[in-house]
Amino acid sequence: MVLSLPIFILFSQFGLVNSPVGIALVHCLFNLPVAIWILESFIRAVPREFGETAFLDGHSGPSFFFRHLIPAIAPGIGVAAFFCFIFSWVEVVFARILTVTGGKPITMAIQAMFTFRTDIGMVMAMTCLSLLPGVAMIWFVRGHLAQGFTLRA
């Protein structure tokens, strides 16, 4: 990841190094495009008449957005959240550069267990534990996985 150095310099000026907020901001860099790609295809699948009917019924822009559009693409939001969570959860590169001690995410916490004498059993136990949130996330979206993520007219 070539951007790490300038991001590190930029973040150190704002005191964002070694803080979860900093990592979250950097993860937006790859997660935002993923979310936009997924959600765009879901929003595209909403028929245009859907919006026009809502406007004829007297809904304003924001009201249409929250009352109609968001419920209509809810599965898409779930799927986007799933992928963003996973990509963010397993990310290593930025986490390594932007954190030292206190702000370590799980990947780096595991890495920190490798010392002069490493107990592989403990590392593996930690790895198993680190899988749990991901597995829970898969469990939450299992319905969407089975339906194939798609809006059916």
């Binding site: 150095l5 990509f87 890495q111 680190s130 597995v135 996985l145």
Partner: protein, 230 residues
Amino acid sequence: MRIHDNRAWFLIAPALLLLGPVGALPLLAVINYGFHDIFTLARPHWVEVRWFTEILGSDRFLASLGRSLMFSTLALAIQLPLGIGVALLLLGTGKRAVWGLMLVALPLVVPWNMIPMLWLGVIDTQTGLLGPGLAALGFDWKFTGWHTWALILAVDSWHWLGLVVVLAYAGLSAIPPAYRQAAAIDGASRWPASASPGTGISCWRSWSSGSRRRWCCRCRSSSSSASSDW
């Protein structure tokens, strides 16, 4: 009546506000640094395109670029057909497909720095699950080049296959069942390779036109995984 309203463009403002500082600015900085000789960041020295000409003239750089391209090509060549095949198999299992999907999605949540650890454990020649058997077959990833390639490709496929399967399953299940029934009546089998190309190609077309954008996302992840593996 058609209502034209361009205010929706304002909805991309948050994304731009976010990607500006963490995306565009660092990228510009990287490009800027590329034209400097930087011993300390306080005193960069302008060297025009010297680094670029040096790198592009270097055989080792070109060789490594070739290896990366080769790796990505091989990874795609393995993972796309395999993922689509698994998705087709799962599609045939009906409601039980959700278990298969959850199973193949599992490797996706393994932290990246743990993947090599897990696999080194599995192929350990003394204690690994597969190691002794592979060693008996003459597999030695440390000293034989193509064995290393095979191992890395296997690990990469293990990690990313779930994504291909999930996306392929999403696209395939969007094809209306009537479409598949019509193709079956026309005498096509489920598998594109073994049958008249008709279904295969038409299925592929209807499916790929819908999800080409998702493949861009997939390619991105493949290349990023490749770069983190090397």
